[in-house]
Symmetry: C2
Subunit: 193 residues, 2 copies
Amino acid sequence: MELLEQRILKDGVVKAGNVLKVDSFLNHCMDVKLFQEMGKEFARLYEGAGINKILTIESSGIGIACITAMVFDVPVVYAKKTITLNIDGEVYGAKVHSFTHQADYTVIVSQKFLGPEDRVLIIDDFLANGCALEGLSDIVRQSGAELIGAGIAIEKGFQEGGRLLREKGLRIESLAIIDSMNSETGEIEFRHE
Amino acid sequence: MELLEQRILKDGVVKAGNVLKVDSFLNHCMDVKLFQEMGKEFARLYEGAGINKILTIESSGIGIACITAMVFDVPVVYAKKTITLNIDGEVYGAKVHSFTHQADYTVIVSQKFLGPEDRVLIIDDFLANGCALEGLSDIVRQSGAELIGAGIAIEKGFQEGGRLLREKGLRIESLAIIDSMNSETGEIEFRHE
């Protein structure tokens, strides 16, 4: 998606350790107008797929998921990273490793909000090693819902998550796929297929 | 706001310990159409106030804040609850006590995304003891931005946060204020002034 790639080139900052900082428009300060264009693109890509629910994970996926849900006219469910006092009843759960936080955590979704009647699109801001997406896919499987696919803002194509999950048959639409980036020169190369 | 009050009466569940579960439409499964109506109401209440930025706190405030930001046509900044590897540079910080999680935590906002040029509306899903709202207000003060007010979905009027913060001069617009609720009968009484 040209608009997102241009924004990454303009405002993204490549840091050592394969870190791409996009906090000025994607995951700390959020440009909701950009999110709306991204939502429209996801709607174009998944047109006719009968999606009736969007699933995401806290926290940085929620904004994109909600604006995309406005375009699709469906509700959003977000997976929570810890069991709070306010979640009761039965939950679907999956273990996820976070490279950002260097920790394992459990993501949970109440069984009330996902079931066999659902056709699910997973939305997230980043895809790198694929741990979060795999955990969310596992939760959709547990619920009996149909997983139509995933919509990702930025995929780090040089990490293996996207390849591995596509090989398992998951449809993944990433709006920008980065093939390489260089923290010394700041250069970013996108994949165009 | 009639629409929100009716939804709380229909789908909210009163639990022991002054807990109101609204996870079927507000903070786990999210009804973005309802959020849009809430955003329009915040826009009506703050019309002409020149708001150019919305500030919220992860995670449950993000959805309402983003949809509201679409209505206001401004960006959203969300305060983060832990320092991750991806936040660098200087941050504004405030300590907040969470009664839900029974813990203290620090909320931070990058200094890049809030400054004297900003006229800020704080959006959150709940106001009870007011700790989160006080922390966010403190961050706005630190940044030199002007705090125009707060927009809250549900205020627990029987807890003192709203009263204390209004006495300090903060404008707070809550779309539903609960004066009392009873976990045995399930009854909920709203304040109408």
